[in-house]
């Protein structure tokens, strides 16, 4: 992240030889937010809404959003292991079962991998339009075949939301940024594209209660994947957000923040 909004601090934490940037805001129980394959804008109303109730931690995946690109990271499980290590380095998130996670799209896949690597690590899990499972009927939309702009637009049900956030005609700087993120996505998720055939077999061990959220009009990851996550995870339910596409947190920030807050705060002491 190049600039940090008011109320946010950014630090860089060395993990496995990688300088990992982590943005942090708010106080309250720790909540890890894992961003999409397209990276994240520096500031989102969704993050600010969560920061009112949680200590929100938004790391950049290695190689995304201008962060250091380690040559050796070659699959999504490597990224999941790096994030698990990161949690161990953060005092607030260190004790097992204290931190909750919100995984957005591709970040949802990483969160699911993290949960299967350490089934008791998370207190609660929210997966939003998560990649990671192969759809039975449809396909996960392949960004390799469409332009940067078309891919991101595909993730919005309402194109006006895209225009508000990125401008109707995004800058060349933004395109280069998407290209770098896309290159890193190819490095770790090229084939099979955006899923791990082992994942459905491993989700059964995840102990944490999980909320699976899907935009009704998600054209990037079919809703059937949400149904499959909800079925494979032992303590999960599916919530569908009307009027949203893949990028639920950008189209319906308040609704999603409310769902996350209500779900994560349940059972708090």
């Amino acid at each position: 992240m190049s600039t940090i909004a008011a109320g946010w601090i950014s630090e860089t934490i060395p993990i496995a030889g990688v300088a990992m940037p982590v943005a942090r805001s708010g106080d309250g129980p720790p909540l890890l937010v894992l961003h999409h394959d397209i990276g994240t804008l520096d500031r989102l109303p969704f993050y600010d809404a969560l920061a009112r109730r949680f200590t929100v931690l938004v790391p950049s995946h290695p190689g995304y959003d201008g962060s250091q690109r380690p040559d050796w990271i070659r699959n999504v499980r490597d990224v999941a292991a790096v994030h698990q290590w990161l949690l161990g380095e953060l005092a607030i998130a260190r004790a097992p079962g204290t931190v909750s996670v919100v995984g957005l799209g591709f970040g949802g896949w990483i969160a699911a991998e993290m949960a299967t690597l350490a089934p008791r690590a998370f207190r609660r899990i929210v997966l939003v339009g998560a990649m990671g499972l192969k759809p039975d009927r449809g396909e996960i939309a392949d960004q390799a075949l469409v332009s940067y702009i078309d891919y991101v637009r595909l993730g919005f049900a309402d194109q006006r939301a895209f225009d508000r956030l990125y401008g109707a005609d995004p800058t060349t700087g933004q395109l280069e940024h998407w290209d770098l993120n896309r290159e890193m996505t190819f490095r770790i998720a090229w084939k099979p594209y955006m899923y791990n055939p082992a994942l459905p077999h491993l989700l059964g061990g995840v102990a944490a209660p999980t909320l699976v959220v899907w935009g009704r009009d998600d054209r990037i990851v079919p809703l059937e994947c949400g149904e499959r996550f909800a079925k494979a995870l032992p303590r999960a339910r599916l919530e569908v957000v009307e009027g949203a596409g893949h990028f639920v947190e950008m189209e319906k920030p308040d609704a999603l923040a409310q769902l996350v807050t209500d779900f994560v705060r349940q059972g708090e002491a």
């Binding site: 332009s147 940067y148 702009i149 290209d179 890193m184 190819f186 490095r187």
Partner: protein, 422 residues
């Protein structure tokens, strides 16, 4: 001079309007528009053209391959190389080349190339390429690792050619328990390797470090000069002098009986202009990770339609800057002299025709080239001192500092007068 004949082997027999409607003639332009009856006819015409090229005096046949696109029907250059190995007698079979990153088993490639070299009695020149952007998508190969795979596959193939097996290979992209191909090339130390390219500085530097000739694919004269400047600089740093024997150039060049006919047919070079030749799709031809980071800005803008293809330009401009040469033998010779004087290549490939140019006109072009143009170019080459790697007896590479020769001839030569090997 080493003078080669080349064609992209265009699949002109497809409904052009369908391509324009679809917006691209690449990757996902449906192969239901492919006509195998026309394909069968065209493949055989191209074979006839190659044999004619040998008969009229070309030194080499240059072959290449592309995937999922009508601009090039060759999906595997080793197949045509195999046919030519058996049906020609004299010409070098110059593959420019096998796209290494697309290979999941480079040892298999090493074997195929060894077979071609033996069947042709040592006439193989084995170029290697990275493959076009869309080729990565057509074959499902990760564009982000294109260069890594290229370099590792090259290293493995050269080792398989030159080091007796069995050995084990534990690389980043390739792992082989046993590398021990029964077939090895006839030429020792190994067949010559030439590296074609268009744009990437990295490839020029890599070729120069290896001491492999670099073949500039239809770049403009000024751009070509910059390529040689860089190549020669790296050569000097590497410890040898660059120069003509390391310089190749592919020239689009159509020759006909009249200027009018030549110009009319030369327009067919624009048949599918975009990336090289195809009506390229800006996204598919530039997958992320494929291009060098130094040109990221240009290609992201191209990918969303904010700038034209960094490679494309109009027909009139290409005639003017000699990226396309067309005319009668009398008028093309001075133009080619200019190219030779200004850029000093010793290897010249002539891409004779494209698109819908008829087989008869293509044969006329090949015949006029052979009878009138090539002899003149050989004289100019002598005058300018443009000695090809074969004439200069240049070493095959930095690693193997001796020229390539068929094993038996080399043994005989050694017997008579031992070669100096450093």
């Amino acid at each position: 001079m080493h003078l080669m004949y080349f064609t992209e082997q265009p699949m002109s027999a497809y409904p052009e309007e369908e391509g324009r409607t679809f917006g691209a003639t690449a990757l996902m332009f449906s192969n239901r528009f492919f006509d195998p009856a026309a394909g069968s006819r065209l493949y055989n015409e191209y074979l006839e053209h190659y044999r004619l090229a040998e008969a009229v005096g070309f030194d080499g046949i240059m072959l290449n391959e592309h995937h999922n696109a009508p601009f090039c029907m060759q999906a595997k250059c080793n197949i045509f190389a195999s046919i030519l190995a058996a049906t020609t007698k004299r010409v070098k079979i110059v593959l420019l080349g096998n796209p290494l990153p697309l290979a999941d088993n480079p040892v298999r490639l090493a074997e195929e190339l060894a077979m071609i070299d033996m069947v042709s009695r040592g006439r193989l020149v084995s170029g290697f390429v990275r493959g076009g952007g869309q080729e990565q998508l057509a074959t499902g190969v990760n564009p982000a690792f294109n260069r890594e795979r290229f370099e590792e596959a090259h290293e493995l193939i050269v080792k398989a050619w030159t080091q007796p097996g069995p050995f084990r290979w534990e690389g980043t992209h390739y792992q082989h328990r046993v590398v021990n191909p029964w077939a090895v090339p006839l030429q020792k130390p190994h067949p010559r390797v030439w590296i074609p390219g268009v744009l990437s500085k990295e490839t020029i530097v890599w070729a120069a470090k290896k001491r492999y000739p670099y073949i500039a694919l239809s770049t403009a004269i000024e751009a070509t000069k910059k390529i040689w400047e860089l190549y020669d600089q790296v050569a000097a740093e590497t410890g040898y002098a660059g120069g003509p024997e390391y310089r190749g150039y592919l020239q689009r060049c159509h020759v006909a009986e009249t200027e009018e006919k030549a110009m009319e047919n030369a327009r067919q070079f624009m048949w599918m202009q975009g990336e090289f030749t195809g009506l390229a799709h800006p996204v598919w031809s530039t997958p992320s990770g494929y291009f060098s980071p130094s040109v990221r800005t240009a290609f992201v803008e191209y990918a969303v339609g904010r700038r034209s293809n960094p490679r494309g330009s109009a027909f009139e401009d290409q005639i003017k800057n000699q990226m396309i040469v067309a005319g009668t033998p009398k008028t093309v010779i001075p133009k080619l002299r200019r190219l030779m004087e200004e850029t000093r290549p010793s290897i010249l490939g002539f891409w004779g025709a494209d698109g819908f140019v008829s087989s008869e006109d293509t044969k006329t072009c090949i015949r006029l080239m052979g009878e009138e143009v090539l002899p003149a170019l050989r004289e100019i080459g002598k005058e300018l001192g443009l000695w090809s790697p074969f004439e200069a007896n240049a070493p095959v590479s930095m690693a193997f500092r001796e020229p390539a020769a068929p094993a038996h001839e080399r043994a005989a030569a050694r017997h008579a007068a031992p070669l100096e090997v450093s």
